[in-house]
């Protein structure tokens, strides 16, 4: 299959991107400055991320649609206000996660942002569940650009007036160069920032504008270290079809009313696990010393029994040390539990720790 390119591909090239294939797309892993500098620039200034490979699914419909979506997502969608976003999951009957996503109530329906590797399958699953009653559009004509970091609000506001009025996890349509773009105050780095849905033909011009105002392009490498420091899950690593939201320690994302009454796909399993607890649970892990424990590293207790596995592990540039997330048996999931990580045949000490590794800087209560 031919590798897909986003509307910003030429711009990445002219900025000396190193490319990797990710979910069938040619994506920049880093630019000339490298992952650590890109990471730190995002934390201190403003980074631009091309996330156009992600799916932008528009579903149109009235309260009937809301009713139908409540049978799928563990959210109180009837109470979700216009232009407000929620993090959620698409699950199977066993509460296994097909995908994690952001759903936003927009005029006339919903916008759902899906992971690149999952989007086509998600579309198929949702089409089967919803039938033909509602118009669905997995929009390939739009790019998705994230701008993240403390200077982002000032930079974006100088191009699109009044984006600074958005609260965290809300969005709105704005105008840019005679085109409508949908901006949400959100992101996946642990920083204040925005995600902008924009037609492909305007993507490059828009990003050029951001660069002129002082933001810099950041690759997927730094996106990964940023999200891991922020304790955020990445599909295919922390989350997959064999994990439930309870095991993933994401019960905060399930609306309380839905936990009481169920009625969504996977609700029985979720409610059971809420009562009985999950056997394994996602935790933060801090290796002692500088050793990096990567994905699939086995986790042991001091009796030499395997008690879990790392799902993501890297060097955190802002915490200036190694960090990881993984799943451990319930009895080892308490903060400060001593564990051992097997790397290259040797066992190294580590501690279960609280997430995030890096404190979030989200903006609340602008208005």
């Amino acid at each position: 299959m031919e590798i897909k390119k986003t509307s910003l591909n030429k711009l990445h090239q002219s900025n000396n991107a190193k490319f990797v294939e990710f979910a069938g797309y040619e994506m920049p892993i880093q630019y000339s400055k490298g992952i650590i500098e890109e990471h730190k620039f995002t934390r201190s200034h403003s980074g631009i991320f091309d996330v156009s490979h992600m799916g932008q699914l528009f579903i149109y419909g009235d309260e009937n649609l809301t009713e139908e979506l409540e049978k799928i997502f563990p959210l109180d969608l009837k109470k979700l206000k216009l232009n407000c976003s929620k993090y959620s999951f698409l699950m199977n009957e066993d509460a296994g996660i097909y995908d994690d996503l952001i759903i936003t109530k927009i005029e006339g329906g919903y916008l759902i942002i899906l992971n690149a590797a999952c989007k086509d399958k998600d579309f198929e699953i949702l089409s089967n569940l919803l039938g033909t009653k509602f118009k669905m559009n997995l929009d390939h004509n739009r790019s998705l650009i994230a701008i993240q970091g403390p200077k982002s609000v000032e930079i974006l506001n100088s191009i699109i007036n009044e984006v600074d009025q958005l609260n965290f996890m809300t969005g709105k349509w704005f105008d840019f160069d005679n085109q409508k773009l949908f901006v949400t105050r959100s992101g996946y780095t642990g920083e204040d920032g925005f995600e902008i849905s924009i037609t492909n033909d305007k993507g490059e011009k828009f990003v050029q504008n951001l660069i002129e105002k002082g933001a810099q392009l950041i690759g997927l490498g730094a996106r990964d270290t940023l999200r891991l420091e922020a304790g955020l899950c990445l599909y295919g690593h922390e989350l997959d079809i064999n994990k439930t939201p309870i095991e993933a320690n994401l019960k905060w994302a399930i609306s309380k009313s839905r936990l009481l009454n169920g009625g969504f796909i996977g609700s029985e399993k979720i409610i059971n696990q809420m009562q009985d607890g999950a056997n394994q649970i996602r935790v933060g892990i801090k290796p002692e010393g500088r050793l990096i424990a990567r994905e699939k590293t086995k986790i042991f207790n001091d009796n030499d029994s395997q008690i879990g596995e790392i799902t993501s592990g890297t060097f955190g540039p802002s915490v200036n040390g190694p960090i990881a997330m993984g799943y451990v048996d319930k009895e080892f999931s308490k903060v400060d539990t001593k564990i051992l990580l097997e790397v290259r045949g040797k066992k190294y000490p580590a501690n279960v720790c609280a997430l995030p590794f890096y404190k979030k800087n989200y903006v609340k209560g602008v208005n």
Binding site: I29, Q30, G34, I35, I36, G221, T225, R290, L291, I292, R294, T314, F315, P317, P322, R344
Partner: protein, 126 residues
Amino acid sequence: MSEVKFSKEHEWITLEGDVATIGITKHATEMLGDIVFAELPEKGSNVEKDGTAGVVESTKAASDVYTPVSGEVVDTNQAIVDDPSKINEDPEGSAWFFKLKMKDQSEMDSLMNKDEYDKFAKESGN
């Protein structure tokens, strides 16, 4: 000191008497990206030509470090273990990895000189 020689695994080596100093090339560090972890062989241990003699990890991945010649490890550079970013800063100078007391100096003969290595690195692209 002898001229600098290079291996296909992107190590450099110089010889002074029978003691070889070994590190990784600038080209290697550019391929690896930001190096955040280094593990070196133990002092007093013996390493074999083309065998592993350490690990470097970048933000992206772990890579083995090989030794281009055999010998006994007589010294290691603790400074790069304490601050691995030094490897990116000065890979072919102060950020050497380990020193070996060589057994068989003829092992140097099969290694590349600078021109040969530069050509190799450019062509192999990795």
